[in-house]
Amino acid sequence: MDFVRNFPCISIMLCLFAGIISSGLRGKAAMLVNAALLVTNTVLSACTLAYTLAAGESFVYVMGQFPAPWGNEIRAGVLESLMALFFCIIMLLSLFGGRHKLIEGVEEGKLYLYYVLMDLLLSSLLALVYTNDMFTAYVFVEINTISACGLIMIRQNGRTIEAAVRYMIMSLLGSGMLLLGLCMLYDLTGHLLMSNIKESVAQIVAEGQYTIPLIISIVLMSVGLCIKSALFPFHAWLPDAYGYSTVSSAAVLSSLVSKGYIFLLIKIIYRVIGFEIYRDSRIIDILFVFGLMGMIFGSLSAIRENDIRRMIAFSSVAQIGYIYMGFGMGTEAGMTASVFHILSHAATKSLLFIAAVGLTDVSGRNRQFIELTGAGYRNKWAGAAFTVGSLAMVGVPMFSGFISKLLFSQAAVQNNTKMLPALIVLGISTILNAIYFMKTVIRIYTPVEDTPYPSMTFRNMPLYAVVLVAFIILNVTLGVSSQPVVDMIRQGLAMFA
């Protein structure tokens, strides 16, 4: 079974190849290639996951058999392959769910470009997940940024271009900081491979040298990635980018791209700096505070929002706040909760975006709440899916959000000083979530007399409905039988160390 060790590398390569091939294809064909790619990658990731689970340990794949420090390494453990699997599944579903909007919204001639970008994005995500080399990580961060910009801009109108430019600027700022941090770290240690850096860092810390440069480098990398993953208060670019781009892009961006960066940060924490050293630096408290603030202010902005897409986008800010709060706990349990929330939020947020588009479609493309009145009756599938997504976001038992909440609070309890603020903010944020999501749910189930808009049934949109059902199943599965997933995460985190 050892050939499975090749799978991570193969899947990244496949993405790149698919991108290259697609650039010469027409839109429809590129779409098929992309779908095939996603399915293949799903299978490959699943195999890797099964392999690592069975092996009970991670493995390092040395590209081209060049040993370090010259070669490039890929490392796959349970956590990495789990992430890769999830990313593939969610991207697959998001693309299928938003396909009709794509065909409508993107110029016929440019459709293939969209899929090219998507292929590249996937490659960068997988690379971020798997890589064991900081410089490779940086390269793919940039690829990721560029393709994400393209995804935002593909539906061309003034707003998306503005949003893309904003995104670009903020993102580049973020990656610039990451690069600076990386350089400093390289200066300090002389290594680019994660495992090597970690050893050196441990040594430096043990000797008590270079304390300040090390801290600065950690801060630079963390802040860079925070900007890119839209942690409050660096979220200004987010609502426009998610709010106006085509729906698949929004779903993918919110649930995968920002998560890719977060995952990279996790890797840095565990595999580059070392968990203890990172925890002892003060940055963790800052992350905690920003996380808490994000939970509150993201939700407050969402409550004020009158546009369903932007509302969901602001909700992302709050959810990312949850994840960083988990980091900020500085415990194993907190990290587990954060990783689980990455998954559950990814599954839920893309569901919400996809469902929202179904609702706006039956309301004359209006995204204002007033027009959405009764949309839940006009498009029953989207209505049900949106309700499920909302309940998951609020954290109602049986849905994925509840497990996240459960894990977060359990983690919070273990930390004496941070327990009360974390718990209370969790409570308040739940209330705020309830306010804006439930408001919307009630709105879409408020019937109106003689609406001008037509209804949608299963026949009009079989693929869309199937995608929604798949999302719902994914969500409920995460909510009901979360134990295996949580175990995998724990196992994966243990392998990191």
């Binding site: 309940l391 609020v394 954290g395 109602v396 038992p397 049986m398 497990i403 909440k405 459960l406 609070s409 359990q410 919070a412 309890v413 273990q414 004496n416 327990m419 009360l420 718990l423 209370i424 969790l426 409570g427 308040i428 739940t430 209330i431 309830a434 306010i435 439930m438 408001k439 009630i442 189930y445 408020t446 019937p447 009901v480 979360s482 134990q483 949580v486």
Partner: protein, 486 residues
């Protein structure tokens, strides 16, 4: 078996919508018989319970979804299952005026199952599940009329309930982390060794969780959803907002206090004093608002707020007697309040009158309804010989027995509230029976008592109010047995 009684309502509800019924009659018969059958099953279960825990599924780790029949569960499920068939019968008649009956009964019947789930849950997690679920299945009921008012009310209801659950959730977490298990064990499950010096934090969390569950039990300041939710059809206001939903809140607090945190941990601490003061304030506050309110159903809703805090006051005494009194009032108040709500509903159904000042002279036109209303009013006031007096008596003696000074002031609050109850209930009765010399009965022509489907539940409730008032010793003994660990 336990699972069955929880599931039957769901199945029946689903069938009632999907099955093609020939006419309304057969549909009614189907639903009523399903509900009655389920109630019979529940009672059978209660009488033959084994005390074993029925494990449905493992959730994560050591958290499981499981059910068990124990003392408070018996009380609550017995109460709910006794009331539900009657309320359903009443609802059939009432809902002839409203639209979307089937959807209404779909959720109405589902609520039955969910409430039983709360009653029979064997651990805090399971109860929390059903607690959240209860919010969700009852929202459509509040929204039912789909007027702007109803939408606003349901939104408020949802926010309050989910928000409250969020804080109750924190309590749940504490029990998971610091408890030996989440199972309900009389005396609490907290593991003192794990807590160490964090007792005050834990007490603070208890207060938070109390207020969280208290949202459903409408403690001040989280009570404003309840009067607003009165826009729902009367069967909902009566059964859910006087019994099932709000009592779930009170029931959850009893569970939390006696079975999770444990009274030993809380008794005599600032946490107890705080929650007791909150309930005392709510008792008086609810009544004062009821006096000011002129909309009959909202007035009753405020009365419910006050009476729920009677229950909570009993619960916060944290003694076996206190719990007995709380459970006793839980049962009695259910009967009394549902009777008065059904009267209000009958009035609305027959005459479309909503405000107290519109009820002049109706006592002569609807003698049965107002007779029952008078009985329930007197019972709520605590006139001896009716149910309310017994529970009030028990509450007061439990409060005195607990020996705390705050509890003595609690008695004063109870009595002030009783006086206010007299004011807001008897003004209605006086208006109805003594409209004054110049009253023109011509304006009431055509007003008459409703038909038997409405009257039968009313009379049964009135009968039980009197019965409990005169003869409640076995019940009280049973509840005491529950409180000391049945």
């Amino acid at each position: 078996m336990i699972l069955l009684v929880i599931l039957i309502p769901f199945i029946a509800a689903a069938l009632s919508v999907w099955l093609p019924f020939r006419n309304r009659k057969s549909w009614e018969i189907f639903l009523e018989s399903a509900v009655t059958l389920n109630s019979i099953l529940v009672w059978y279960l209660l009488l033959h319970h084994s005390g074993n825990t029925f494990l449905l599924a493992h959730f994560t780790g050591n958290l499981s979804v499981s059910f068990r029949v124990d003392g408070p569960g018996m009380v609550f499920s017995g109460l709910v299952s006794a009331l539900w068939p009657l309320a359903t019968l009443y609802a059939f008649e009432y809902m002839t005026k409203e639209e979307h009956e089937k959807i209404f009964f779909l959720f109405y019947t589902m609520t039955y199952g969910v409430t039983l789930g709360i009653a029979l849950a064997a651990n805090l997690l399971t109860m929390y599940f059903f607690y959240e679920l209860l919010t969700l299945v009852t929202v459509p009921l509040v929204m039912h009329t789909l007027t702007r008012e109803a939408i606003l009310a349901s939104r408020k209801y949802l926010y309050y309930s989910l928000g409250g659950a969020a804080f109750a959730f924190i309590g749940l977490i504490m029990i998971i982390v610091y408890g030996r298990s989440t199972d309900f064990v009389l005396g609490g499950v907290l593991d003192l060794a794990k807590i160490g010096d964090r007792t005050n934090v834990l007490r603070f969390i208890y207060v938070l969780a109390f207020m969280g569950f208290g949202v459903k039990a409408a403690v001040c300041p989280f009570n404003s959803w309840l009067p607003q939710a009165g826009v729902a059809p009367t069967p909902v206001t009566a059964l859910l907002h006087a019994v099932a939903v709000v009592k779930s809140g009170a029931f959850a607090i009893i569970r939390l206090t006696y079975y999770s945190f444990g009274t030993d941990f809380l008794r005599g601490t600032w946490a107890q004093t705080f929650v007791m003061l909150v309930t005392m304030f709510t008792i008086v506050y609810g009544c004062s608002r009821a006096v000011k309110e002129t909309h009959l159903k909202r007035r009753l809703a405020y009365s419910t707020i006050s009476n729920l805090s009677y229950i909570l006051f009993g619960a916060t005494l944290m003694t076996p007697l206190g719990m007995t009194a709380a459970l006793l009032h839980l049962v009695f108040h259910a009967v009394m309040k549902i009777a008065s709500f059904f009267c209000a509903g009958a009035i609305i159904h027959q005459t479309d009158r909503y405000y107290v000042h519109e009820l002049d002279g109706m006592g002569y036109k609807m003698p049965c309804v107002f007779g029952v209303f008078t009985v329930s009013a007197l019972a709520l006031m605590g006139v001896p010989g009716l149910a309310g007096f017994i529970s009030k008596w028990n509450l007061a003696s439990a409060a005195l027995e607990s020996g705390s000074t705050v509890a003595c002031f609690g008695i004063v609050c109870l009595l002030i509230s009783a006086l206010l109850t007299a004011i807001y209930m008897l003004t209605v009765v006086v208006r109805a029976f003594f409209p004054g010399r110049d009253f023109d009965y011509g304006t009431l022509s055509g007003v008459k008592d409703p038909n038997w489907m409405m009257l039968v539940p009313l009379f049964i409730f009135a009968f039980f109010i009197v019965l409990f008032g005169l003869y409640s010793q076995p019940l009280a003994d049973f509840l005491y047995a529950v409180a000391i660990g049945l």
